[in-house]
């Protein structure tokens, strides 16, 4: 056993000398390889974490939401609409909601404005609002300071900042502004008695499809959204089939293919000569192959461990900063990510399998033919 270990160490000695001969090229290769692993691992970790976060946070979303449509667009919910909904069996609570969007032309940002179900609990009252962290950051707001909003009528209204929404909830509330019903209706000119949509809480979650069916019957112009749809939306976010992710994955696959092909396409004259010498001085075919395998293994293992570690730090300690320009797109607001790391052994193993094995094997392919060189070929000078 000890001999076997020593022997592998000798083979590694030689393969490192071999690599050191083209130091710049091989370091460059290692760097690129690491970068690719880094990108793939970052996407993998980020996606996993975001999906888990979504599933956890949105588990408490309303069971059923009823929207009203007119000619394919959202319309307001009128009092008679609620009347038509009436009392449905299996519905524990019906809540009419008020929420909408406000466009800030100076910041060129969209805020989501909402009237909370229990205003008092949120610290919101007439003239006083609660504001999300990102809005506060961009406008430089302070507690008990003021925020100025301009209505469609042209009239500007200022509100006092009662409270900032918590930092930990930024992923959901970064752009949120909570105000009282009175303020909402007067600022937006929302007609009295009308609402944005209706949220229902059902008694038995299994019955939710039946209830949705009944609603659709009673209110044919309604659109019903179930919580499971909400969760499903975020379950497949950053799916590999989606544009940007697919582009990244394709790029990575192609890069790996290029690395592997470059290795597998044959040896340089130098390398062939080297193998000939090794055979001549007493190395067996198996030794040569093992030595080359170590070359591939060392590079791919180093790239994998470094790449993954860097990706982990990037996503969880640096809030996936490199993805910001991509994710931000044309938005002006962007939440600060404080994701919770989750461990998925399967995905990690998949990443390992796809990044380490192909390259390690690719280094052996061209060697096969060369390694069975006759040991006397060096002497005959037929290399």
């Amino acid at each position: 056993m000890r001999t076997w270990i020593e022997k592998q160490k000798y083979l590694i000695d030689f393969t490192l000398s071999s690599l050191a001969r083209r130091k710049v090229k091989n370091l460059g290769l290692l760097f690129l390889y690491t970068v690719i692993v880094f990108l793939l691992a970052s996407v993998m970790l980020f996606t996993q974490a975001l999906r888990r976060e979504a599933a956890a946070s949105l588990a408490g979303a309303p069971d059923v939401i009823v929207q009203r449509m007119v000619a394919g667009r959202h319309d307001l919910i009128s009092p008679d609409y609620i009347g038509k909904l009436g009392n449905l069996r299996g519905v524990r609570k019906t809540e009419s909601r008020l929420w909408g969007y406000y466009y800030d032309p100076i910041e060129r940002a969209n805020y989501t404005v909402m009237v909370p179900g229990s205003a008092g609990q949120e610290g919101v009252s007439t003239g006083r609002v609660a504001v999300g962290q990102e809005i506060a950051r961009r406008l430089g707001l302070t507690l008990n300071g003021k925020i100025l909003l301009t209505a469609y009528s042209g009239e500007s209204r200022s509100f006092d900042i009662a409270r900032f929404l918590p930092l930990e909830s930024e992923l959901l509330t970064a752009d949120l502004l909570l105000m009282s019903e009175e303020d909402f209706r007067s600022f937006f000119g929302y007609p009295a008695g009308q609402y944005t949509d209706i949220a229902l809480t059902v008694v038995n979650p299994q019955e939710v499809h039946n209830i949705a069916g009944k609603i659709a019957n009673r209110l044919p112009d309604s659109r019903v959204i179930l919580r499971e749809e909400i969760l499903r939306t975020y379950d497949s976010i950053f799916n590999w089939r989606e544009g940007v992710v697919l582009a990244l994955l394709s790029g990575a696959v192609i890069a790996f293919a290029i690395f592997a092909l470059e290795k597998a396409s044959g040896l340089s004259a130098d390398e062939k000569r080297e193998i000939g010498i090794l055979k001549a001085i007493g190395w067996e075919t198996g030794d040569v192959i093992r030595m080359k395998f170590w070359e591939g293994a060392l590079i791919s293992l180093t790239a994998f461990f470094l790449g993954y570690t860097a990706a982990y730090l990037h996503v969880f300690r640096f809030a996936a900063a490199l993805f910001e320009p991509v994710l931000k797109g044309w938005s002006t607001l962007y939440p600060q990510f404080e994701l919770v790391p989750t461990l998925d052994g399967f995905e990690l193993a998949t990443l390992f399998f796809f990044t380490v094995f192909p390259y390690a094997l690719a280094t052996i392919v061209p060697i096969w033919r060369a390694a069975v060189t006759d040991p006397d070929s060096v002497m005959r000078g037929s290399l």
């Binding site: 909370p116 930990e168 959204i225 975020y234 060392l298 797109g329």
Partner: protein
Amino acid sequence: MIAVRLGSRLARRSHRALAFLTAIVGLFLLTFADAAWLRNCRAPGARAQAELAKRLGLTDLCLFTEARYTRHLSQADWHSAFQEYPGAFEHFPSGSLVSPTEPAKRHANLD
């Protein structure tokens, strides 16, 4: 004394390489420790977030605030081309990052 011994051990190339590999594997394993630690730290915050979301009845993550149908992916109406600007087919990058939601089965819908 140990430094001298270590120095002589590292004279050999394979020892240097294996030492380096061990170091980075160590860092790799440390990330799992860090992950466990972070989970602990951020768990209360995550719980608070879930509670707040439930209280306010929030339905979407605040990821893409460009347009109302990217901000509230699950609430957006489906006949939504040209909602914001006549020339804008897609809101980059959200259009290329999120797949359209499949509607829940077994109830009538308006699309």
